[in-house]
């Protein structure tokens, strides 16, 4: 994992002191709130419904156990004893006090962390596949490039006052676990016909009120040209992106207005001018950073571990957890373990300080001290020996972190919604809690199979509802909370935007409506191997519409 050298450490210290000064100037009235706002946002500090919220960056999702313990310490000392992992591999604290924030940042800097550019109209914390360095089919480790982009984008003098926020994600396999094409730039590490490794640029994706799947703007950019091509893309956007209407200010709108070809042409023109400049990446720097991401000292283990196979058979609960919550590892005898932050009836992504400490201990004992945050608001222990899984599972179970539901219907993405957010139309978290209670039987979960259910409290789509197999969107109907359902979205390599099912449901009806959607799917699927999304794509929306609104009517008349 990357470690700060003297330059990085000095920089983050200086940034912390700069922010301390900004807070002092704000409290002294030297800065107006209007002037302070973008400054605090660039340091991850939002003003929410009830209090400030501090969003801390976890660049490309990677944490060590020491950092995890520090996050627990902050949750305990400065918050109400918990933190919230988000869809952008960040962690949020919902209750810090403004005058504590400089000290929190100082604590973070002590463990090589920060809150730089987790918000504001700048290049945001870069995200990556949570199986980086683990997946067997990976072209090259995306974390190396995540770190290069982190440094390039940090306090970029030219791109700190963009028309709107700017999100970059990275993957390196054909499987997309990072919602690549919902980003302003999705970078896929690829090999070209000559066998060279470089980047495919998917530019101009996004969610929000205008969901757009990022088009391929350039199929191959050499590694040494990554920064110059990024610079050229951002320069075209900074000069030509709209600034008259915040709903039309994202790069996706510019790319659509010009067309991806014309946009690509303008970037190319700019890029050809600068590609042989100081932005060319020297191999020595790439090698320096790559060295930090060398494999840990894996043991030579058999791929097949008879005891483990027996444990799965003898303990059905353990077997279910292994099936849902572990991924294959490129090294024989190891697995990647997802720790579900979606226990039944809890707020998705929330974790207590005590649980964080346990995760840190388990990372030390079982996973070379490494933890990852995933974009679906869970945590991951990337390198666990199969022979340790049973013990690990028991330890997780003891602290309620062993819900066997990864990739299943109760592995819900939900935004903060009306419980915290001042833009919300409706609550998200209680809807997620109700649905997870309704589908709490692990056998039923497993029977339903792979399903991505995402909830946003308003059209800003922080909860990725457009790209959930099932999406739920909070809408306001004359002051009441209502929920619109979309079906058929996906954020994976088969990306698609969901289609609206029909009129929105009340808070009391939404869980029943979801259950009818599920029952309809079970009735229609060819067999248990046909996923919800595949059945939907085969039969279309009509059968779902009929069943859901039909049964709603029945329930209504039965109630009368």
């Amino acid at each position: 994992m990357y470690r700060y050298d003297q330059f990085d450490a000095t920089f983050v210290r200086e940034r912390t002191e700069q922010f301390r000064g900004q807070v002092v100037r704000r409290l002294a009235g030297e800065l107006t709130e209007e002037e302070f706002r973008p400054l605090r946002l660039k340091n991850g500090l939002y003003l929410q419904l009830h209090a400030y919220m501090l969003r801390v960056a976890i660049p490309y999702g990677e944490l060590n156990s020491k950092q995890m313990r520090k996050l627990a310490f902050i949750a305990r000392r400065y918050d109400k004893g918990y933190g919230h992992f988000t869809t952008r591999q960040n962690i949020q604290y919902n209750w810090p006090r403004l005058d504590d924030v400089p000290d929190i940042l100082k604590h973070l800097a002590d463990v090589e962390m920060h809150a730089i550019q987790t918000s504001g109209n700048c290049i945001r914390n870069v995200t990556a596949d949570h199986l980086a360095g683990v997946a067997a089919d990976e072209v090259e480790d995306p974390r190396v490039w995540g770190e290069i982009i982190r440094q390039w984008s940090t306090l970029h003098p030219e791109f700190s006052y963009l028309p709107r926020k700017f999100k970059i994600a990275l993957i390196a396999t054909d499987q997309d676990r990072a919602a690549l094409r919902t980003h302003d730039i999705g970078l896929k590490i690829v090999r070209n016909e000559a066998g060279e490794v470089g980047f495919a640029f998917y530019t101009g994706g996004g969610q929000g009120r205008t969901p757009i799947i990022g088009p391929l703007v350039k199929a191959f950019v050499k590694k040494e040209d990554l920064l110059s091509y990024l610079d050229a893309t951002l320069r075209v956007y900074n000069m030509h992106g709209r600034r008259d209407n915040i709903y039309k200010a994202r790069i996706k709108i510019l790319v659509q207005a010009l067309g991806p070809e014309e946009f690509g042409r303008q970037v190319e023109e700019e890029w050809l001018r600068i590609k042989d400049s100081v932005l060319k990446l020297p191999d020595a720097e790439v090698a320096r950073i790559r060295a930090y991401f060398a494999d840990p000292d894996y043991e030579k283990l058999p791929a097949f571990w008879p005891e483990f196979e027996a444990q799965k058979k003898n303990d059905a609960e353990f077997g279910r957890w292994v099936r849902a919550n572990t991924d294959p590892h490129k090294i024989d005898g190891y697995a990647a373990v997802t720790i579900s932050l979606k226990p039944v009836g809890m707020a998705p992504g929330d974790i207590t300080a005590d649980q964080m400490d346990v995760v840190a201990d388990l990372a030390d004992e079982y996973s070379f001290g490494e933890v990852r945050a995933t974009h679906r608001q869970n945590l991951l222990l990337p390198h666990v020996r199969k022979q340790d899984l049973y013990h690990l599972w028991q330890r997780l179970k003891a602290v309620k972190l062993a819900e066997p539901n990864i990739g299943l219907i109760s592995d819900i993405i939900a935004c903060p919604g009306l419980d915290y957010c001042n833009l919300a139309n409706a609550r998200s978290i209680p809807v997620a809690q109700r649905i997870s209670r309704r589908f709490s039987d692990p056998k039923r979960l497993a029977e339903i199979g792979e399903l991505r259910l995402n909830i946003s409290g308003c059209i800003n789509a922080c909860g990725h509802h457009h790209v959930g197999h099932i999406g739920i969107l909070g809408v306001d109907k004359k002051g009441d909370e209502f929920y619109q359902v979309t079906l058929g979205g996906s954020s994976a390599e088969d990306i698609s935007i969901g289609k609206i099912l029909g009129p929105a449901f009340s808070y009391d009806d939404i869980t029943d409506a979801i259950e009818t959607v599920i029952d309809t799917y079970i009735g229609l699927r060819n067999d248990a191997s046909e996923r919800f999304i595949d059945t939907y794509r085969r039969v279309g929306i009509e059968p779902f519409k009929e069943k859901v609104y039909g049964s709603l009517k029945e329930r209504r008349s039965a109630a009368e």
């Binding site: 050298d5 990085d8 940090t154 970029h156 030219e158 001018r273 932005l279 720097e285």
Partner: protein, 169 residues
């Protein structure tokens, strides 16, 4: 009014002239793009220097053929959140090779000042109500820079690999 150069207040030698005002004899003047375009020939004949002022939706590419005759280009920050002029400054310096003075005016705040210098802006006109000492303080906040621009501050990358021309203090 003072202007700031490297954080230090200097007397302002330039006079901003409205489109319908007569040009003060012998003074260095800043005119709008519109006036420059309309009166280019006469302005070029002047004995004193001429600068042009660009609004935030006016790209410096509009004056790319005129730069030899312009001693100053002023870039507007109508709101401090409008960051177009950062790119305009870089286009002027890096793409068009402009060597004259680049000046920022409008809502130019202390917390953006270092970014401005790094993008190639030489002087700024700080808003009257702001404490000018703050701008000099802002330049001391960082000693580490990640992005190579043409402002001669060495980047972390070059220092790491011994590529720096002289190790910056």
């Amino acid at each position: 009014m003072v202007v700031l150069k490297n954080g230090v207040p200097q007397p302002n030698e330039w006079v901003r002239v409205a489109d319908d005002a007569t040009l003060p004899e012998g003074a260095k003047v800043i005119v709008s793009l519109e006036r420059w375009q309309a009166e280019r020939e006469t302005l070029r004949q002047r004995n004193a220097a001429v600068g042009v002022s660009l609004k935030s939706d006016q790209s410096p590419l509009l004056v790319k053929d005129d730069l030899d005759h312009l001693s100053l280009v002023a870039l507007e920050f109508p709101k401090f959140t409008d960051g177009r002029a950062f790119s305009y400054a870089r286009v002027l310096r890096d793409r068009l090779g402009y060597r004259g003075e680049i000046r920022a005016f409008g809502q130019v705040l202390r917390d953006q000042y270092l970014f401005m210098l790094r993008c190639g802006i030489d002087t700024i006109e700080p808003p009257a109500e702001k404490r000018v000492e703050g701008y000099a303080e802002a330049l001391k906040e960082f000693s580490v820079f990640y992005q190579p621009t043409n402002d001669h501050r060495e980047t972390a990358l070059r220092l790491r690999h011994g590529l720096a021309e002289s190790v910056a203090a």
